[in-house]
């Protein structure tokens, strides 16, 4: 299992569109992708759970990947969040 902390920088936080972009990008990986935020773990492949986490701009989240391609999944996830999730 690998993990890394990142700060969400896109203005709207994890809203519909950024959440859709994120989940669509990590879904192809076999690894399980989790977002740790505010003491809870959310399924990174679920748009609904990502929105439900209510992650705002400026929030620090931890991305945790577990599975065969965990390194690649984590790299992709971190890159997406850092680049502002397509906003």
């Amino acid at each position: 299992m690998v993990s890394q902390k990142v700060t969400v920088t896109n203005e709207q936080g994890m809203h519909m569109r950024p959440a859709t972009v994120f989940s669509a990008a990590v879904t192809p990986f076999d690894a399980e992708v989790k977002i740790l935020f505010n003491g809870n773990a959310y399924d990174g492949k679920s748009v609904m759970m990502l929105m439900a986490a209510c992650i705002k701009c400026g929030a620090e989240i931890e991305i945790q990947c577990d599975g065969a391609d965990e390194e690649a999944a984590l790299a992709k996830a971190v890159e997406l969040v850092e680049s502002g999730l397509g906003d």
Binding site: M16, S23, M51
Partner: protein
């Protein structure tokens, strides 16, 4: 008459089609053949996806891609593993499909409706829409086919879901009335995009009306009439014609240059109060920002905004305007605008007291934070600084010196800014008007604030009903003052703008054309109206009218003459 929220402008007169909410109750039962139930569920999901995709496509074609995102959002949500996936798990455990859909959707509705954020709460209504659509498919309930209603229909519903709205044929539906929803709800956005008059949140309207009742929807005022008498109908028929004619005329001015009838170009800018308003200015075809009030930054918080906070807000507006001019007015507090944490003393005469540039020059450290914020934003577009309530030359000189000081500091820190940034003044006091020629030697531009100029020139408190009759920009004293200010600016070769309400007044515009105003700054929604009026006057006609008006000695005569000449 019934009152609601005016959600989409215009007048609709027609015959009601009442959309009744269906009974979607079902019997919860234990399922033994879970595979058969899963098949039933999956085919419902497939049907939902196909219908939703078709609606999204319809909306994209008929309304626009942005509006279609609502339906695309529904598709993304149902495709989510936690939605259909959770429902499937419940069915496998023996629940019927209806119960599984209800349980999972209700869980998410509960989760989203509790959130603080407006946009997130909107997701709760999306999920509710999905739930209803799925239950209708599962229970085999058929909706009224909105796409087949007769021409001249007014739709009345408890709520208009995006799925209903997507079936609307614009030529057949002339009005919309609902019991819930506000100006920013999906139904309001779609009604505006379709240009169908709509009044939302009319309490109990579905209980009051019947199919085929006659109704009037006034989406401009938020009024609804059910089975009105002939007199009301004929009044609204006229109102509707006027509205349609005015809209059609204004549409011709979208994307056009702002020019007088004899081809002299002028600038048509907008007044805004927050960075977000800049989007409205762009949507309304504004050519720049003539007045960006900076007070919101100071009023929204319990403490002074930092330089970074100010910079971010100014830059946001500058970015939205994409290279178009943004004139930022520095802090204009005091008078009737109080900021609690500054603990300003109560004054006998606040409008004649410690306010605006007077306050700022006495609190230079605070003022420099704002000037630095503006300067930093100037690196990203065309920004100008505007100083409020100037009464003497020294004030302009002192502000300019402070701006230079800030520039030196920023240069030393290696921070970018526009070295050629213009510093202009509001001309809104009797003193500034009388020395406009002297101020024009110091300032890079003028902007006439007609609201304060009228108040100070007429010595009248516009908040006092007993003397409010004196408060008019058409008083001979105010008109002479405006003429003098514009002439002084023109003579010195600096641009003169106007950012008070008068700049969009159809009666005032010909006079401003005659006087030689360069820039009109108006409320975004009035951009097209102002552009239309400006286009009707030549300088020669405007001059003749101005000459006549300035020879009159009372406000009443002046207004009468302007009304008679109005185009």
């Amino acid at each position: 008459m019934y009152k609601g929220i005016e959600a989409s402008r215009g007048i609709g007169i027609g015959s009601i089609c009442l959309i009744v909410d269906h009974d979607l109750t079902f019997e919860t039962k234990h399922i033994d053949d879970t595979d058969a139930e899963k098949t039933r569920f999956n085919s419902a999901i497939d049907k939902f996806k196909a219908e939703t995709a078709e609606m999204a496509e319809n909306i994209r074609k008929n309304i626009g891609p942005k509006e279609a995102e609502i339906m695309e959002g529904h598709l993304a949500m149902i495709a989510d593993p936690t939605m259909a996936g959770e429902m499937t798990k419940m069915i496998e455990a023996g629940q019927c499909a209806e119960a599984a859909v209800t349980a999972v959707c209700d869980m998410f509705i509960g989760m989203f409706s509790k959130m603080e954020d407006d946009m997130m709460r909107q997701r709760a209504s999306d999920i509710s829409d999905i739930k209803i659509s799925l239950l209708k498919i599962l229970l085999g309930v058929e909706d009224v086919d909105i796409s087949k209603v007769a021409p001249g229909t007014i739709l009345v519903a408890h709520d208009l879901t995006p799925s209903m709205t997507s079936q609307i044929v614009k030529d057949n539906v002339v009005g919309i009335i609902t019991e819930v929803g506000g100006k920013t709800s999906h139904s309001a956005i779609l009604a505006r995009a379709l240009e169908i008059p709509a009044v939302l949140s009319v309490p109990g309207i579905t209980e009051i009306v019947h199919d085929k009742d006659t109704a009037i929807v006034d989406g401009t005022e938020g009024d609804v009439y059910i089975n009105p008498d002939g007199e009301v109908v004929s009044k609204y028929v006229i109102k509707r014609e006027e509205f349609i004619r005015a809209q059609a005329e204004l549409k011709n001015f979208v994307g056009k240059e702002s020019v007088t009838a004899d081809g002299k170009p002028v600038e048509l800018f907008c007044n805004i109060g927050t960075p977000k308003d800049a989007k409205k200015a762009i949507e309304c075809d504004g050519e720049g920002i003539g007045l960006f009030r900076s007070e919101f930054l100071f009023m929204d918080k319990p403490h002074l905004p930092t330089e970074d906070e100010q910079f971010a807000a100014y830059k946001e507006a500058v970015d939205i305007m994409g290279g178009k001019t943004v004139i930022i007015r520095t802090l204009d507090i005091g008078g009737d605008k109080d900021i609690p944490y500054l603990e300003l003393e109560k004054e006998e005469n606040p409008f004649l007291g410690y306010r605006a540039v007077r306050y700022c020059l006495a609190n230079r450290d605070m003022y420099k934070i704002q000037l630095r914020g503006i300067l930093r934003a100037s690196a990203f577009g065309k920004v100008k600084i505007m100083v409020p309530l100037v009464t003497c030359v020294e004030e302009v000189r002192e502000v300019k010196a402070l701006v230079e000081e800030c520039k030196k500091e920023l240069s030393a820190e290696g921070i970018a800014f526009d070295d050629a940034i213009e510093v202009g003044c509001m001309v809104e006091t009797a003193a500034a008007s009388l020395i406009a020629d002297l101020l024009a030697q110091e300032a890079d531009f003028f902007s006439i604030g007609t609201n304060d100029l009228t108040q100070y020139t007429m010595s009248v408190d516009r908040g006092n009903a007993k003397v409010a009759y004196l408060y008019s920009a058409f008083q001979p004293a105010v008109l002479r003052s405006i003429k003098n200010i514009i002439a002084a600016g023109n003579a010195a070769g600096i641009p003169v703008g106007m950012c008070g309400e008068a700049a969009a007044d159809p009666l005032m515009i010909p006079l401003l054309i005659s006087f030689g105003l360069d820039e009109y700054s108006v409320n975004p929604v009035l951009v097209l109206t102002a552009r239309c009026i400006i286009s009707k006057w030549t300088k020669e006609e405007a001059d003749a009218l101005a000459e006549k008006v300035l020879s009159l000695s009372t406000e009443a005569e002046i207004v009468a003459a302007l009304k008679e000449a109005a185009k």
